[in-house]
Symmetry: C2
């Protein structure tokens, strides 16, 4: 194999597929990046068997071929080279020669034969959404995934006509984000591993004009964007029925500044983190929210101005759970709905494009 | 005690003295910050017995007093408060009440009686240099300190009339930086712990117009700048006589671009770090420096254009040692002097404001 391309393109392609390289794998080929150069396509692939990524890179093929190279040292070498043209040549003994300006590296590669290629899936009927929109709705929900049950290790993607909803749940709360699509895509459902989604958000672009195609398949989901293909295994099992946990009615509603509430919760988490995991008490009384917390480290007391409807209420929460929500909502003023000190609390907007539920704690 | 001050001033003062707070100390008072408020001076002090820092903070004293507070939680609380006025009150039970806008914290403090105050040293005849100059010369020499021998754990500060020289040495190299002072300060010498100097560079300002006063005392050195006093213990013992290791003559001299050499050495350190600690070979031949390295990971070969005087030479080095020097020299073109493949190599400028020596390695 002999290929040439710019250092920038090479490093950027390695960086994308690196997200699917296995770390400390028992199968050491899974720690490699596979480079294939056939026809006019230079393709880089990494696959840890849960997540696989391939990307096509601009460049010239002088001689076709295939090679697998240890991802870590390869990424470091390519990154360290000057911003110039790179020529990479391999020989029949799988030695890899990399030349860039006056620098030359030789490292050992491996035949690519035992590399697990990505499954070749039907890519029809893909759901199309902007890259930034997908990135945002993952970020705004992923914190309420949980390692305790397999289905909670992922997020459920639900397509219902022209709406796309992302749901996550753990034993104490759920998070939902919903967006409207440009087309109608029928009914689809799948549970996508949170690990995959975390890596995906690192390579999606912050761009509302560039799209990602999402393909729902039997055991896999495929994300297609730019010249990159991401294939992930799905999580099998039945996702908890979130519709049965929706708010029926409320006794207390208040509106609070996102900034003021976030700042207070951050301060509360200081004492809570340092000390025992004590809940914070929210005392909603007329137009003031009084927050207090006592741990063995010390006490905190705060007043925040709010707009309240309904009854006064005293209720306890894990401050970290409230903070997770307030960290990610986009509105400057946020509505919170409560039933009693034993009923779940809901944080959502009128259109329900976001809807968070948190169970209270005894105080 | 009752004091008030701005959140910014309070946090900045805590941040300065925090550098001298003990971590995981057996004496838990050393993990505290002492606040004293007497007359019109609010002073914060931390002291881990090797290094002590005190700083005076702007603010109002409503009631005089003294309190010691656990540094970690105290710093986090003050940092988390809004950018507003803070009122801090303590009572006879050493409870500390902190109020800022609508936030209120209560934490437990301790009496300051068992706190080790900084020694009261004579501050006459201080050497004066710009804060940024001190910061720079420490950064440019501190990497060649060493834990193996007590005197190598520090840097020697040498005052000789109107020159100030900083020296560090380990078993394989030395580093020297020299600057000219505005006044004549006679002869002084002291070995200052590298740990102290590392912390000091974090709180000195990047400013050539603000000065630091350095006081040489018997067992201590004092640094005075802004409203801050840093007191460090000195290291006892005889520093190696660096003058006996100076270059007598050279057989080979070459001039190389700092950028090109630094980039090459960084690439070399990739293979060297991943693999065994193999030396790089420098092959100086006419106007080309050929660098090569073979480790079990792979090989690297590079050519760099140089300007050479004297004999051709092949010589080996630990690439990290050369990189340490090239990372910090300010010149764009750097001169390197060598004797033979068994003689030390010197990197310095004509004025000898910097002078680095590195021993070669067999190849």
């Amino acid at each position: 194999m002999k290929i040439s391309c710019s250092q920038e393109d090479f490093y950027s392609a390695i960086n994308i597929v690196s997200k699917a390289v296995a770390t400390r794998s028992t199968v050491s080929i899974a720690e490699c990046i596979l480079i294939t150069a056939y026809g006019d396509e230079i393709k880089l692939t990494a696959n840890n068997n849960e997540l696989g990524i391939e990307t096509i890179m601009a460049g010239n093929i002088e001689e076709e071929g295939m090679i697998a190279i240890d991802a870590k040292i390869f990424a470091e070498i390519i990154r360290s080279l000057p911003s110039s043209n790179i020529v990479m040549t391999t020989n029949e003994k799988y030695s890899v020669n990399i030349v860039c300006d006056q620098s030359e590296f030789n490292i050992m590669g491996r035949p690519g034969d035992d590399f697990s290629f990505l499954p070749d899936l039907n890519q029809e009927n893909a759901v199309e959404i902007p890259q930034l929109a997908l990135k945002d709705i993952i970020r705004q929900t992923i914190f309420s995934t949980d390692e305790t049950k397999p289905v909670m290790r992922g997020e459920q993607f639900v397509i219902d006509g022209n709406t796309f909803q992302v749901e996550s749940i753990d034993g104490y709360r759920f998070s939902i984000r919903k967006i409207t699509l440009n087309d109608d895509y029928g009914d689809k459902k799948a549970i996508v591993p949170a690990k995959t989604l975390n890596e995906l958000t690192k390579i999606l672009r912050d761009d509302m004009d560039e799209f990602v195609q999402i393909v729902f398949s039997n055991n896999h989901m495929v994300f297609l964007f730019d010249t990159t293909t991401v294939v992930t295994r799905l999580i099998e099992g039945e996702f908890p029925d979130i519709n049965r946990m929706m708010m029926a009615d409320y006794e207390t509603k208040f509106t609070v500044s996102k900034k003021k509430m976030t700042d207070s919760l951050r301060r509360a988490s200081l004492l809570s983190r340092e000390g025992d995991k004590k809940p914070i008490a929210l005392n909603i009384k007329d137009d003031v929210l009084h927050i207090d917390l006592k741990t063995h480290v010390g006490t905190m007391d705060e007043d925040i101005d709010i707009k309240k409807e309904g009854k006064n209420l005293k209720i306890g929460f894990n401050p970290g759970y409230l903070l997770d929500v307030f960290n990610v909502v986009d509105d400057e003023e946020v509505d919170i709905y409560m039933g009693s000190s034993r009923y779940p609390c809901y944080i959502n907007n009128a259109e329900k494009t976001y809807n968070y539920m948190i169970l209270p704690v005894n105080i």
